[in-house]
Symmetry: D2
Amino acid sequence: MSQEKKYASIHYASYLGLDRVLDAQHPRSASTGKEAHDEMLFIIIHQVYELWFKQILHEVDSVMRIFSSETTEERAIDLAVHRLHRVNEILALLIKQIGILETMTPLDFLEFRAQLFPASGFQSFQFRKLEVLLGLKMDRRVAYTPYAYYREFSPDQQDEIRSLEASPSLFDRIEAWLERMPFLQIEDFDFEKKYLQAVSGMLERERQAIRQSDYLSEEEKNMRLKMNGDSDTFFANIFNPEFHGQQIAQGNIRLSYRAALSALLIQLYGSEPLLQLPCRLLNAIADMDEQLTTWRYRHAQMVLRMLGRKTGTGGSSGHDYLMETARKHQIFLDFHHISTLLIPRSELPELPPRLKALLGYAYRPSTP
Amino acid sequence: MSQEKKYASIHYASYLGLDRVLDAQHPRSASTGKEAHDEMLFIIIHQVYELWFKQILHEVDSVMRIFSSETTEERAIDLAVHRLHRVNEILALLIKQIGILETMTPLDFLEFRAQLFPASGFQSFQFRKLEVLLGLKMDRRVAYTPYAYYREFSPDQQDEIRSLEASPSLFDRIEAWLERMPFLQIEDFDFEKKYLQAVSGMLERERQAIRQSDYLSEEEKNMRLKMNGDSDTFFANIFNPEFHGQQIAQGNIRLSYRAALSALLIQLYGSEPLLQLPCRLLNAIADMDEQLTTWRYRHAQMVLRMLGRKTGTGGSSGHDYLMETARKHQIFLDFHHISTLLIPRSELPELPPRLKALLGYAYRPSTP
Amino acid sequence: MSQEKKYASIHYASYLGLDRVLDAQHPRSASTGKEAHDEMLFIIIHQVYELWFKQILHEVDSVMRIFSSETTEERAIDLAVHRLHRVNEILALLIKQIGILETMTPLDFLEFRAQLFPASGFQSFQFRKLEVLLGLKMDRRVAYTPYAYYREFSPDQQDEIRSLEASPSLFDRIEAWLERMPFLQIEDFDFEKKYLQAVSGMLERERQAIRQSDYLSEEEKNMRLKMNGDSDTFFANIFNPEFHGQQIAQGNIRLSYRAALSALLIQLYGSEPLLQLPCRLLNAIADMDEQLTTWRYRHAQMVLRMLGRKTGTGGSSGHDYLMETARKHQIFLDFHHISTLLIPRSELPELPPRLKALLGYAYRPSTP
Amino acid sequence: MSQEKKYASIHYASYLGLDRVLDAQHPRSASTGKEAHDEMLFIIIHQVYELWFKQILHEVDSVMRIFSSETTEERAIDLAVHRLHRVNEILALLIKQIGILETMTPLDFLEFRAQLFPASGFQSFQFRKLEVLLGLKMDRRVAYTPYAYYREFSPDQQDEIRSLEASPSLFDRIEAWLERMPFLQIEDFDFEKKYLQAVSGMLERERQAIRQSDYLSEEEKNMRLKMNGDSDTFFANIFNPEFHGQQIAQGNIRLSYRAALSALLIQLYGSEPLLQLPCRLLNAIADMDEQLTTWRYRHAQMVLRMLGRKTGTGGSSGHDYLMETARKHQIFLDFHHISTLLIPRSELPELPPRLKALLGYAYRPSTP
């Protein structure tokens, strides 16, 4: 039996397509007759990034399918959480990986940088695709050049991006799933009303703590009271559908009123069996958002160090542009802001027994 | 011989003062009769931070002593680099450590947060001291409350901070050491002149690459040329003592003209034996600056997640304040900007043999 | 109001007991008149380890309480998993932390090592306590000196260790909890029988794959068949209570037959809502066991590098002793071995509908 | 101008060969009609490993070239250290990366494991090549199957491996470089003699410390004295060329007598300018050796967890085999053992001024 056929059937090298993967490194500096040693690192680390992006897309796609249908089964949420955790492990690695690129000195980079022009990381189709899938909207993008970012891609890729931008993102699907949640109002239990009562009680206690402090000067007390006053207003407003609507209209908030309420319910009662998975899901998404932001910061820092104030090969302003994306390309910010609304367990409204039972398991130690 | 005396002389526990260290955890929530399980983590992780701050101060102090004298010996620079590497290892750990605090949910934090008021991380004397030692100037500080930050500390601590602010910082000492460097002008070698000649040659080649590109539209070419034009201007300006002086006056730059020249020389000829250590030193400082910035970002993210838009127990605006410090409290930014001035080795002016010899070792294989 | 009282009530420094924590570093080399710079690192890193050990004990204690009672509530398992995850985050940090100690060169260590004798890490009471709580039995301990390890501790500490060794460990409590699991036999569903049928079917298919391989030589096929034969025997044996009993008697296995069965059921059907938490619990314990083992290896490597073949200040053989503990002090090995018994989902016996329903949530979209 | 040609010249995607790299993932489970979701991760993570192996080989090759010639220039050693640091950064990432594979549960692995048989990681040509380049000798290899490991590879690959095994490895080249070091005996300075005098003085002091201890029982004192006696003997022996020769003959040691002496000199006087780079080189090699060992351990743990006592698809005993390689495939063990011979700086023989000057820089502040 021939080596080839044998390999084709079962060898490690053929299974992994190593003939192609390990033959795709062609330093351009070699063509100049004087190969720059570090260009190999530059090529390989970017190929590794793209491989991981493919894996992340594989996971995110499967998570989006789980939240595509009208009825999302709990069993499936367990899977979604598991896969988002994997994405987060990968993102943590990609952040650490920047440290390897930083073993290349700015001088070593300059040995071949001119060869790259005008290729640029902005041309990574998979990363753009990921941003769109997660929910980065065109109108929130920081423009790094005077012309639209589509032109970096082939016609087919442009069509794919455009159609993805026209379809519901992960953000949209999670929002829809939250809006479908049935527990905001069950029989005589009105979560919104109960919660607002609890909040005002708590805020009153906080105001007293300030007034009675023997550490703060009068001036400071007033400052603190004003601050709490603000958050009081905020609490009141956030639960005012009209105000919330205005905030969305002004682009300060994206998450719908009802979805925000459900997210809050989940965070507050996340230890009830039926809400444990939804709670872990929201945390996994917040983790992912946080890691992506960290990755952008580290990337910006690395560029600052490598290039100082030089412009990127793609023509961007380099560091400053990347820092701006780190701030403006954050997608799930509203999920972090839910924390603003949390209150101590001791202040939590008791759930009615009937609801508590519904949120538990079918099995009871008393059962068979 | 008594257990006590024996221990006093040599036991692990007495050597580490564990009786005190492990008896310093007193959750305030316990006093309310209902101890919050996670307050222990909150206390211990902050104590660990403070222990590491003490270690970092121990290393930074020793590095500052090395650069205090008029003549800094090479042997000593090796030590300084070694200790800054240690500081960077510690900072990397402190960044990772934030992940442990993030295992505390916002709800668990709220169980005891009210007890902490008005104590706050802003009251960490060691961290303030570190910032001042490294070179964070009062006028660059982001104010988080209407009143000066001194009042957080005891009178003695206030005096110590003020006297440190009045003495040369690590930034000042490194700058002075760079200014003392003797190699900018040796006999007929004038680094500044040679370098500027090399730069203009390189920029001309870059402009040609843009003009001849068959990928860019005319519009884009002009944009690129304008950008390079800018960096051309920048190159010209940075080496204009007057312009540099204005930049310093306006607070855009801190590093003196001569120090910047030396730093550039070191980066460009860092492979010469005598310049290897200075080069590693500048990189270690840039690493430290980068890590401190990363730590601030991660800290800000963690606060966003824990509190959303709530105000800090210390009365700051929380997340927004911390993000601003991450941007404005960076101390060694000018050292990153040196990269703007780097050019490929192929463009580097040759060093005269006499200077090259001086930068080498006394020993020559030919010698003994 | 006096500075003191004010601080006593609320300042960051007093809350954290920094006056004691930051005053507990007394390098012994200082007494020789020539302080070794790196002894400070040696002291502080060990104090940090002890602080984290206290935190780990705080979490492990709470987990043990959860599994102390006859009836462990699901809500509580969620908490146990959450806290074990925290322990694992901490252990990951402690492993990384070894890298900081490795910034101390062997020569720098020798500057003060003689001062430490005969103090030693073996005298860490908290670490011993942790080992005992988790379930490390006296008879499995590697002896590092001719005399028992108790004598390192004060009489009170010795009593505490002895009483802990006499009480149920975390291993014992998890085992008991697994034995209590009600799902091995419900009505006509006999997990053990169903599983064994599935296994024999799968093994037969594997044997065929080997026989039909056109890659393997006859010799290799026989070898493979023999290997599988072995695991076949193993499968058969593991589910033979007598054989299992012998293995326990010989000290090859610790986990009881019934507990092993429950652990297997949990791993195989871990996606059923009611089994999700138990499954995450077993994984968290396996993680913890793996991390502790990694920590021991890294510790042993660090000692090898620092001391080579020198003996430890405590009188142990240093590296070799630590390597042996890494192998023999692993406590939850049987939980890793469960994987030997896993089979593909496609081979899994279907659960009877009645049982499937019991393992689900009380709430059904159809319900209210 | 056509899309293709344009891209061929300069686009990110063509530069990185993404058409090939991202088209090389073909899960075999797909052919069964039921694709296992996690096989994609399994493929991609192994491709990433292979890409990094290629990068590591790129760096190790360049380091070996540096040490191939009779005269290794200091400037070049700086480069070697820099590139070994990069290798170590990469290895640290590969260790962390195992955590990502561990997000795949044993059950998920079983979904496609049967498809892989008999492919196996043992068939990674690049990893075998790396082991051989570093210096892993055929006779030290742990055999995982009855037949030689060559047969896993194509005829060309087998030839390459065999010729590499016949050429000097990195170990051999570093050893030769150490043997060439000229400083063991310069004029009247005989390092070996001076060092042995210092050692005996130090050992005598240690023996006294034991005898005078009021903590140890007589029995313990004798034990300690015996131990030190041993290390005394060891010290004496290691510097006995005949004994050293026997140790090599018995395979307990690999590093030649003269090379070991030079390595010791470098470690002891590593702060002298000319020895700083050699010292950093030895540390970088020790780091690499330590990381490779850690990687093997983590790999073994991961396999234990994934498969328990199952045999590997390649036919090895899985976990036990990997653990054995972790112990026996360590290549630079002798470099760690140098630490056994280190003594405190206070005990170090003073270098004669003439030698001290030779080890310094040509430039003296007094010079020009």
